[in-house]
Every structure is written in structure tokens, then in C-alpha cells.
Amino acid sequence: MHAASVLQSVLAPAGPQAAHIARLWWLMFWVATAVFVIVSAFVVGAIVWKRTEPRRDDVLRVAVTLGVAATVVTLFVLLVASVWTGRAVASLGASSTVTIELTGHQWWWEAVYDDGTPSQRFRTANELHIPVGRPVVLKVTSHDVIHSFWVPNLHGKRDLIPGYTTAIWLQADTPGIYRGQCAEFCGLQHARMALYVTAESNDAFERWRMNQRREAVQPTTDNARLGRDVFLRSTCTQCHTIRGTIAGGAMGPDLTHLATRGTIAAGTLPNTRGHLAGWILDSQSAKPGNQMPPNSLPAGDLQLLLTYLETLK
């Protein structure tokens, strides 16, 4: 994942909702600019324009009345525009949707892709894939404190509040990778709680989904097998799940398809062997306060473990 492909901007909408909001923004922006220019002109005029005779109050009265009337009319227009946009972005048609249950954790995102058949559900973390042109509904809640889901290119934010589950609709019309970030202060690593959304063609999405549903690939090489053993006998299993093995921890992200993800630690580091190694040994220097403890693995074991983790396509 490279910086160039990353987008995170309100003003570069990639879906219908963000586009609606961007239009509202530009309306507001130009109205505000006009108001600013006009009012500033009057303020400056009052000082600069030296008059011999003060203006009469009845003239001022008319001027102020006109000003207030203009204000009311402008505000009413903006109100209408706002409410109209609000209705437009509230929900999308319910046909052919993808349902994702998104749960906020300190400080990462857990996503479960829903399915009518329970065994077809799967769990992933920190990176969502969505099909272009299809509405997606996110059911959001939080595991601990309040977080806020926000991918500005697609939609505004929605708070993830413990004890509440709310739904937010999304749709991407342009393929691409969009960056989002937790927007509600959630503690030490609020700054490093990013989320990537990959919008891709329906075929690519279904391929991805099929793969995610599978349990983890069995290691085929000796090193990978040894690496799996390192994983299973170390502290990793306490918090992480790799489906197909006995590791069933729920405190950290699901690693079943770790190698398909572009980043680790909620967008903190690119998912490369080197970063992964650094993260496993000492996650606290990259993301101080996160809940992954430092692990002192012998160098050989670490390499085996990395080899195994890299097979988790």
C-alpha cells in the first residue's frame, strides 16, 4: 500500500453520499464567502469612509432590517439544502447489499462480513473490501470506548458507542483504496487507528470474499510448519485467531488471512516482513500503549514465524 494510492478527503467524493455532501459544502462555501465579503466591506467601510454628517437612525434602521431579512432568507435556503442532503445520504436502496458488522476496539477495527449462512461469515480487521456500485450497510458498535467510523471519501462519520448498534450505509462508485480514521478520541492510540477501504469490481470483491471465507492455508513448507508451531506455542494464541488452528483469541485482530492485508496495526505500518518483525518484537515503539505486548522470540523462531505469517494469504 503506497501513499499515492491513498485518499482521505471530503472534497474528493468516491460515492453518492460523499458527493451529496461535497455539493452541500461548495454551496455553503460560496454563500459564506459572499457573506464574508459583504459584511467585511461594511465593517471596513464604516471606518474608512469618513463622513462629515453621521447617518440618520431611520436610514440605519432600514439597512439593518434589510440585513436581517437577507440573513433569514439565506439561512432558510441553507437549512433546506441541509435537510435535503441529509435525507439523500441517510440510506440507500436495500437491494443486493453487503452487510458488515464493524466493531471498534482500542485501537483497531474488527469487521465481520455477515451472511445468512452462519458458516459463510468471516472476520477480518482494519481493512474492508466493498464492491463498487453496490450499497453496503455497516452495523457499528464498540467493544470498549466510543470510536467513530469515518472514511471521508465515502460518507460522514458514525460513532461506535458501546451498548448501541447503529447502521450506516455506504457506497463507492469509483474503485480505489480509501483511508479512514477513528474520529472520536479513544485514548492513547487514537491517532493510529486507521482503516482502509478497498472499493473494487464485484468480481474482485467476490473473489476476495471467497478467499476470506476459507480457513487459513495449511503450511506447505517445513519452515512454515515450524513457524506455525512457533505461533501456536507462543503467546500469540492468547489474543489472535487463525482459523484452522487451535488459536482462537478474540482480543486482537483475526490473522487468518493476515498476508492479504496491506497494513498492520490499524494502518500504522505497511505489512512487510521487516515491519512485521519489528511489530512482533516491540510493538510499543511504533504504537505506544497498544495492547500487544513485546515478545522476546529467539531470532530463528522469529524468522520461522514470519515465514508462516507470510503464507496466510
Binding site: 455532501i21 439561512l75 442532503t85 467513530s148 451498548g163
Partner: protein, 672 residues
């Protein structure tokens, strides 16, 4: 449009002067001895006396200075934050320190600077403006100051001990709750709220009573100066808003200390309850800061346009309606929580509607300037800065009221930019204006003009450099309250620019500080009324005497110094051997009765100490509430111990008005 009609022209009407009561007999002489009065109203000497001060000028001055000290400290914290954010992935601060620092910055600015400093000016100026000898409940006033001071010291000491609050100034549970913020940091925050709210509530009560019962005869409701109106309305807002947050913070402490479940969703509590309670206070809070500032603006605009403010009634009603609507839009801080569409629309409408009274005020001020001749002195310069800067903040505010747009920019740097434009533009600019405006009255010396110009222009430049880029950062997706960001986000350059701006701001504040220190020693002597203003505080010496006014004035207009006739009477009949004050009726300010104000006393200080010990102790054990009640009881007993009968004067002079023999000492009428 009667709203915009000017003050009735009959400002010199005789009926304003209450008729004498023929039934009362007059003593031989109504003259008082100025020396005797000064002695009676004097404070006690020495350290003990310093701790016993009860007059509003000393307390107001201390309040202002203390609030500014907190402002400087919180500003330094802001600089530290900007250094951390100057570059991506900066290692200047870790998340732990950064979280404490930004929380301290917000908390101190809001609770220890913005609200108290506005009230501080109220404490100093309002009694003078209404022609009173002291603020109502002077001992409560002293108590309020001590609570404010101790609260501030407490939070900074805890910060120094690495126990500074780190949950943001709105401290959302569950993050601020027991499970996710161990230790005492959030308790410190919650208890600081209690400290400052207690202080604020006390001041509000004093101001309301001062304005309602201690006004100079003749100052009927439609002659109350706009600044006083603003302070009064603010005081009412404080009374209504602050209990909500005190309740919330107490509930939070109980959750954390005792194990209650107010905000625990598992046991039927609700984290959103906090948000409702907090913003029911938090949004009016913005107006609690902004409305006094509008009073300052009205005052300064009027003085420097050399004419009464245009649309007096409209301005007052705009304030009242702002105050009302201000309580009806707290939910716009919670749009992202996922509310029903109907509710969103309602609060959008309310949030947009509040721009109408603000707009009206704006137009009235501009009309005042158009209707007069603007003299561009330093206070007026700051007010001009206010116009431009606050306008930007107000316009982005309208944007934030729109739910869809708010959903995008909520909790981003756009909002950071917005509220700094609103709060610095809407409150700090007028406040600096107020400092430049009233500094001569308070100290007797003018603030330096040259340094003042540097201060203003550096501030304006630095401010816009710091905060304008944040609008763009927010739109580019930068959330607020992040201790760092990654290089690939592309936010580095604008942040760097912002940090440079913060440096300029820092220099400007430094210039201000130098200016104040230099001017205190070597400033130009001010005289009674250096600006030629029209309100009563300028009718006495600079700085005012112990009793404020040897003869309490009566008034015949909103700007008595401009509108009073030369033979305007003053109040006589108050004793000069005790702290006698005149109490008037609420509506028309006709004399009601005399009352005696309390002497200086150490008890408010002692009580404040006991209360502080109780509050701080209660963070560590709930038993502190029980044990701490004992010294508190002692303090209150000492405070309210009845006076011996002999001390109260039995001789009462009838209250009268009369024209002073020497017109030079009397308030003289007419615009300067």
C-alpha cells in the same frame, strides 16, 4: 421595527428622579466625609488583610490576573502541542503526555480562563457601571475567587505530578470512566469542574443580585448598560447550564470512585447520557463566553463611534434570544451518534436559527459605526479584529449546523479551526479590547500604544496563520486530538505552517505581557475618563476609591455621562461610618432601603480551603466528604456568625437625592 428604535428621547426627564418622601425628616447635614468613607471601606492591612479582602475591585483584579496566568500557561501547552504536530511521526511528545497536554489546554482555557475571565470583568466593572459601592454578597465573591484559585492550582499541581486529566475537555465516558482511565486523572478533571462551577455559580448569583438590587437610582431596566445586560444574561445562563455539568461530573466521580453505573451501558447506564448532560452545559458554555464579549463589543463600539449603541432594545433582545436558543441546540455536538432524522432536522434548524440574533447584533454594531464617527483606538482595533475573525467562525458554525456537513467535519481539525475562530475571535479579541479599554480604569495608567499595535497585528497574523490551515486539514481528513499523523497523509506542510503561526501568536502574547508590565510602571496617567465614554465606571477616579463613589450617582440615560443633565442629583443619606449601601427596586431602580455590607473577613478564605480539601480528598476516598464536612462546617459557622447587636447602626438617615454643591465632582452629562 420598534425593536430598533432608539432610547426614548426624554432622557433627562424629571420623573426619573424619585420624589422625596415628605414624611421623612432631614438631618442637619447630608454631607459625608470622603476620608471617613475611605477608612470605612478600606481593607485590613498585611497578609491577613490580603486574605480577607471582600471588595469587588481587588477580587476582580485578582480574578483577571489569575485567569490570565492560566491563559498563559494553557497557551504554552498549546505551543508544545503545535511543536509535536509540526512534522508527521514526530517524537517530541508521546501519546500519554500529548493527551494530558491537549486536555489541560482545553480544560484550562474553557474552565479556568474563558468563563472566569469574563466573570472577572463582570466582578470588576458591573458594580461600577451600575453605580454600586460593592458587588452583592462580597464574602461570597471572595469565596468564589479562592475556590477558582485553588481549583486552578490543584489541576496544575496534579498535571505536574503526571496526574493531569487526559480524556479531553469533554471527557466522554466510557473513556473517562473507571475501566479505561485508571488512576486519578479523570477524577482530577471532574473535580476541577466542581471547583470552577462552584466559583462560577457564586459569581452569577452576585451579579444578578447586584444588577437587580444595587443599581443607581434612575437606572431602570431600559437604561442598563449593554455590558451589564450581557453579564446578567450570562449569569442566568450559568445558573441554568452549570448544574448539568456538575451533576454529570459528580456522577462520573461516583462511577469511578464508588462504583455506580451512571454511564455503564452494561448495567443500564448510558454513555450518551453524559453527552446530553455535558452538551446541555457545553453548548450554552460557548454563549456564556460569547455573550459577555458582545457586551464588551457593544461598549467599545459605542464609545469609539461616539454615539449610543444603535438598536439598544434589539441588542438586548438578541442577547436574550441567543441565551434561549443556546439551550436548544446541544445535540448538534452529537449528530454522529446516529440520531433519528427528525431530531437531527430540529437541531439543525435551531443551530441555524441562532445565527439570526447574532446577525442582528452584527448589523446593529455596524450601524452604530456607520451612525457615528469611528475613532480607531486600540480597544476598537481589537473589536474590528473581532468582526472579521468571528465572522469566519460564525459562518463555519452555520456549516456545522448542517447535519450532513457536520458528519464529515465533526471531530476534525475543521472543527478545531471553527471553535478557535469563534472563541478567540468571539471572545479573546473583545477581551483584549476590554483589557486595553478598562486597564486605565483599573490601574490608572494607559496601556502602551506602540506595543499594543504590535500585539494586535502579530496576534491577528499569528492567529490566522495557525488556524486557517486547520480548515483545510479537516477537509483533508485530519481528526482532532491526534498526537501524531503519518507522512503519507500529506498533512505535514499545513501543520508546519500552523505551528509557525502558533509561534507568532506566542510572540504576540509575550508583547502583550511586556506591554502590561511596562505600562503598569510607566504608562501614561489615564485620568477619570480617558476614552470619553458614557457609562458610570468613568464617573469616578481611576483607579476608583475604596467606596467606588463618594456620593452614589443617579442616572438619566443609558450613557449617563453623555446624557445626564448638569444638575443630575446624587444619592445622599447613606452613612459614612459603616459600609452603607443603597438597595433599589428591580424594575425602575427606585430606592428601596439601605443595607449594611459586611466587613473584610478571613472566613471565606478558610471556608474555601476547607471546601477544597473536601473536594480534593474526595478523589481519594469517599470518606473525605464526611470528614471534610467538619472543617467546612467550622468555616461556614465563622462566616455566618451573627454580628453583635451594638455594631449595627440604629440611626438611619432617610435616603434622598440632591444635586451636589460642587458640580465638578458630580457626573457631568453629555457626550464628550
Amino acid at each position: 421595527m420598534s425593536l430598533l428604535d432608539q432610547e426614548p428621547a426624554d432622557s433627562g426627564d424629571e420623573k426619573v428622579v424619585p420624589p422625596l418622601d415628605p414624611a421623612r425628616t432631614l438631618p442637619a447635614s447630608l454631607d459625608v466625609s470622603a476620608e471617613k468613607l475611605e477608612a470605612v471601606w478600606a481593607e485590613k492591612p498585611g497578609l491577613f488583610g490580603w486574605l480577607s479582602v471582600v471588595n469587588h475591585r481587588d477580587i476582580g483584579r485578582r480574578y483577571i490576573v489569575t485567569a490570565f496566568v492560566f491563559f498563559f500557561m494553557a497557551g504554552l501547552l498549546a505551543l508544545v502541542m503545535r511543536i509535536q504536530l509540526a512534522r508527521p511521526d514526530n517524537h517530541f511528545l508521546g501519546p500519554d503526555a500529548y493527551n494530558q497536554i491537549f486536555t489541560m489546554h482545553g480544560t484550562v482555557m474553557m474552565f479556568l480562563f474563558a468563563v472566569p475571565v469574563m466573570e472577572a470583568f463582570g466582578v470588576y466593572v458591573v458594580p461600577l457601571m451600575v453605580g454600586a459601592r460593592n458587588i452583592a454578597f462580597p464574602r461570597l465573591n471572595a469565596f468564589s475567587y479562592w475556590m477558582f484559585l485553588f481549583g486552578g492550582i490543584f489541576v496544575f499541581v496534579m498535571f505536574a505530578l503526571n496526574s493531569g486529566p487526559d480524556v479531553g475537555w469533554f471527557a466522554y465516558p466510557p473513556l473517562s470512566g473507571p475501566a479505561y482511565t485508571p488512576g486519578k486523572r479523570a477524577d482530577v478533571w471532574a473535580q476541577l469542574i466542581t471547583f470552577t462551577e462552584l466559583a462560577g455559580l457564586a459569581v452569577s448569583v452576585e451579579i444578578i443580585v447586584t444588577v437587580f438590587k444595587l443599581r443607581a437610582p434612575g437606572m431602570s431596566l431600559n437604561r442598563i448598560p449593554l455590558f451589564v445586560w450581557a453579564q446578567t444574561i450570562t449569569a442566568f445562563m450559568v445558573l441554568l447550564a452549570m448544574p448539568a455539568v456538575m451533576l454529570a461530573s459528580t456522577a462520573l466521580i461516583l462511577d469511578r470512585l464508588v462504583g455506580t453505573h451512571f454511564f455503564n451501558p452494561a448495567e443500564g447506564g448510558d454513555p450518551l447520557l453524559w453527552q446530553h448532560l455535558f452538551w446541555f452545559f457545553g453548548h450554552p458554555e460557548v454563549y456564556i463566553i460569547f455573550i459577555p464579549a458582545t457586551g464588551i463589543v457593544s461598549t467599545i463600539v459605542s464609545t469609539f463611534s461616539r454615539r449610543p449603541a444603535f438598536g439598544y432594545l434589539a441588542l438586548v433582545l438578541a442577547l436574550v434570544s441567543t441565551a434561549f436558543i443556546g439551550f436548544g441546540l446541544w445535540v448538534h455536538h452529537m449528530f454522529a451518534t446516529g440520531l433519528p432524522q427528525m431530531g437531527e432536522s430540529f437541531f439543525t434548524a435551531a443551530s441555524i436559527m441562532i445565527a439570526i440574533p447574532s446577525g442582528l447584533q452584527f448589523f446593529c454594531w455596524i450601524a452604530t459605526m456607520w451612525g457615528g464617527r469611528v475613532v480607531l483606538k486600540l480597544p476598537m482595533l481589537w473589536v474590528l479584529g473581532f468582526f472579521i475573525v468571528f465572522l469566519v467562525g460564525g459562518l463555519t458554525g452555520v456549516m456545522l449546523a448542517a447535519v450532513p456537513l457536520d458528519l464529515q467535519v465533526h471531530d476534525t481539525f475543521f472543527v478545531v479551526a471553527h471553535f478557535h475562530y469563534v472563541l478567540i475571535g468571539g471572545a479573546l479579541f473583545p477581551l483584549f479590547g476590554a483589557v486595553y479599554y478598562w486597564f486605565p480604569k483599573i490601574t490608572g495608567r494607559m496601556l502602551g500604544e506602540r506595543l499594543g499595535q504590535w500585539n494586535f497585528w502579530l496576534f491577528t497574523l499569528g492567529f490566522n496563520l495557525t488556524f486557517f490551515p486547520m480548515h483545510i486539514l479537516g477537509l483533508e481528513g485530519m481528526p482532532r486530538r491526534v498526537y501524531t499523523y503519518q507522512a503519507e497523509t500529506g498533512w505535514g506542510d499545513l501543520n508546519y505552517l500552523s505551528t509557525i503561526g502558533a509561534g507568532v501568536l506566542g510572540v504576540s502574547v509575550l508583547v502583550f505581557l511586556v506591554n502590561v508590565i511596562v505600562s503598569l510602571r510607566a504608562g501614561v496617567l489615564a485620568g477619570d475618563n480617558p476614552w470619553g465614554a458614557g457609562t458610570l465606571e468613568w464617573a469616578t477616579t481611576s483607579p476608583p476609591p475604596n467606596c467606588n463613589f463618594v456620593y452614589p450617582p443617579t442616572v438619566a440615560g443609558v450613557n449617563p455621562l453623555w446624557e445626564n443633565p448638569p444638575d443630575q442629583p446624587v444619592v445622599v443619606g447613606l452613612r459614612d461610618d459603616v459600609r452603607d449601601v443603597l438597595v433599589t427596586y428591580v424594575l425602575d431602580a427606585e430606592p428601596d432601603h439601605r443595607t449594611e455590607f459586611p466587613e473584610p473577613t478571613i472566613w471565606p478564605f478558610c471556608t474555601a480551603l476547607a471546601t477544597s480539601a473536601l473536594f480534593i480528598g474526595s478523589i481519594f476516598t469517599p470518606w473525605a466528604v464526611v470528614i471534610g464536612a467538619v472543617p467546612l462546617f467550622v468555616g461556614l459557622t465563622g462566616w455566618f456568625w451573627p454580628k453583635e447587636a451594638g455594631e449595627t447602626g440604629t440611626q438611619a438617615w432617610p435616603i434622598q437625592h440632591r444635586t451636589l454643591p460642587k458640580p465638578g465632582e458630580a457626573p457631568a452629562g453629555g457626550p464628550v
